[in-house]
Symmetry: C2
Subunit: 220 residues, 2 copies
């Protein structure tokens, strides 16, 4: 989202079939809420394909990688590592320190912001090794309640970027949704006049229609 | 979370099997991030059971309902209806108006806050009827990008409550997670000394362990 640093989301662990949809949603949430890249385990090819497809249609830049070496990625990451876990410190207590660590803080003296550093956000899927807790610069809980890794990632990114991710622009998109009070309007991304207005009451669920799902073709 | 008003999340539509995990995560996210109640379609009994189980162990109050009459719930709701959809107005543009509509705004004159009203947050699953767009007081997009209904709900609730949901207390819990920089510590909810410390490096994923999943027994 910003040239100064890269924010990478690593989905740690993936069970094909069972986790396809959650992993896809991790990737799409990372993209929509300001991360620059998502790394999936190499057995999550279907999720990768869906996220790439959405990026192709709705814009980027956003990169999707499949990697086998999850442990090495975390160990060797040159930057700040945040691990989202319900056992971690409360996000409201540490978000300021994280923003400062990666240079997203508001400087007290203009021009004296902390230097930008890359950030790896690790989202646990199946079992994660204890070494991850030890390697992480911050183990962070978005609440200490059991809920959803997708929800935790979303709240974390929104707080990390202080809401600025909601205003980002998308490059190389084929289409763009026009926000409106009542309606479902999609236009060509160049804003040209041949927009498609879909408020005919057919009752499609627009999110399901476009959301990357297990089988994206099914909903279209 | 607050006696003045009830915040209810309605999961609109559910495909058994395929949607079990997403529906469960909608319910757990609603609970963790400050809603008072979730309503699932009546074919989502498995998700309801999981959310109730988590509430029994980690505390409440939080209610889970199964209802057949999704359309009637929306139509007859006495309060403000928010529909989360990627076609809606941008959350950053309308969150102030929504907070004011339900009395969660900061009054300019102390004591002159808007009156509290109940809030129904509708999260689409499969196809939602066009009437929902028309009935909703606010159609809201957490970005106008396709991503995840769980992520959208999470960001919406965090912004609705202005982060105060992260500090809520839980009643009638069996257990409580102690937030910490490195570790996985669960204590009895009364804070007594027989806490169970689980940092033996077995490498369990604590979120998966406790998260309501398709089959909660599988992870335990």
């Amino acid at each position: 989202m910003n040239d100064a640093r890269e924010v990478v989301v690593l989905r740690y662990g993936h069970r094909p079939g069972r986790d396809d949809r959650m992993t896809t949603h991790v990737g799409l949430t990372a993209r929509a809420l300001g991360a620059d890249r998502v790394i999936f385990p190499d057995n999550a090819g279907q999720s990768a394909e869906t996220v790439r497809d959405i990026t192709g249609r709705f814009g980027g830049p956003f990169a999707v990688e499949l990697r086998e070496d999850q442990k090495a990625i975390v160990r060797d990451f040159e930057g700040v590592v945040v691990h989202l876990t319900m056992y971690g410190e409360q996000v409201q207590d540490v978000e300021g320190a994280i923003r400062e660590a990666v240079g997203l803080d508001e400087p007290e003296v203009p021009g004296e912001a902390s230097p930008p550093r890359d950030l790896l956000v690790v989202v646990g899927g199946e079992k994660v090794p204890w070494a991850l807790y030890e390697r992480a610069d911050f183990n962070v809980g978005v609440t200490n309640q059991p809920h959803s890794e997708v929800a935790g990632l979303a709240v974390f990114l929104d707080r990390l970027f202080n809401g600025e991710e909601l205003d980002r622009e998308w490059a190389d998109a084929d289409r763009r949704v026009m926000p409106e009070a009542t309606g479902k309007t999609v236009v060509d991304a160049d804003g040209a006049g041949d927009g498609e207005r879909d408020d005919d009451g057919r009752g499609d669920d627009p999110v399901t229609d476009e959301r990357g799902d297990d089988d994206p073709a099914e909903d279209e």
